[in-house]
Point group: C2
Chain length 225, copies 2
Amino acid sequence: MKIAVLGTGMVGQAVAGGLTRVGHHVVIGTRDPEATLARTDTDGMGNPPFSAWHAEHGDVELATYADATSGADLVVLAGNGFAALDMVTAAGADNLAGKVLVDISNPLDFSAGFPPSLFVKDTDSLGEQIQRAFPDVRVVKSLNTLTAPLMVDPKLLDESTTVFVSGDDADAKATVTDLLASLGHDDVIDLGGIETARGTEMFLPLWLRTMGALGTGMFNVKVVR
Amino acid sequence: MKIAVLGTGMVGQAVAGGLTRVGHHVVIGTRDPEATLARTDTDGMGNPPFSAWHAEHGDVELATYADATSGADLVVLAGNGFAALDMVTAAGADNLAGKVLVDISNPLDFSAGFPPSLFVKDTDSLGEQIQRAFPDVRVVKSLNTLTAPLMVDPKLLDESTTVFVSGDDADAKATVTDLLASLGHDDVIDLGGIETARGTEMFLPLWLRTMGALGTGMFNVKVVR
């Protein structure tokens, strides 16, 4: 499948690398590809610049949000929550029309420090905001409940764990469930319509505090039933 | 241990029964014991009246919130979220001073239907509200992330699963962790201070939607790491 991954940060890199590894053709979308490749400084978290990652992943193309999206069969939104709607806008409603958009972003607000609060919650969600703003896109919220390395390689854990899908379009959720299976996810719970994204987004406060308690983000929940 | 369970609903009944089964001396607290025993109608959910349960659990005493609490070594708050602060008030700050209060309530607001929203979240929690209102009580938030039958008998599931504790007093959390172990909980994650109750309370929106998807509340998460 031709997949556009919107976002060049750690999550975008991990998702692009993982999807490439299992045989997909990935184009990463960014606002200004030349500027993205020209940056040589580490980011605010001390991570190396995108160019360092890209030098080791030459099979992953870099293009504008719009160009990456127009050529893709499926789009993954891997940006930070505050930027999400702007990134989808830049990808272009026409380029996205009818396509599946996998939204893995979270509405985290770090303005008051760590742990962050959520800038939308409980009676609305970021997934719903994107679906409302782009009604012709088939939004599926998924993978926002675990750390990026495990999103694309859940077998790094010793046991099978659970991921979730939320979305209004059953075919789109089936497509995403197949994509998840190609990455190694063998327990996918379909929560229902896109409004159920409120559930997975509101899991983040527990995820963040569990990460704090365990001292690592390399964990995931298994729904035992 | 002598344990007061505040609340006569399905959660209070399950917790009282489970604690009795593993050898604790349990007194259930209610506003008006005579009135509670006199009710013969089913509740809003179609559950039988307390008296029917009590007839089969004669070893569990029923007393006022205050009397149940004054004689107890440890208190479990098993009421609904909206009533929680009133129930602790009725139990009495003096009766509770220095004691461990296990808060298993959740701030669920069903006024707009199902699934409920949360009436406190993200920048505060019900656990914190109780701790602030009763500074001499040692509040430990726990067990609010799973259904009542599994709170007291996690081995009903085929695999070990995870529960959490949040609280400001390390000794109180150790006491609760021992109590949890007596019920069969062998994976307890200490999330930190009482403010981490925000995490487990905000898990409810995902728990409720997972229950909807699975068609049962008989599940729990295992944190695989």
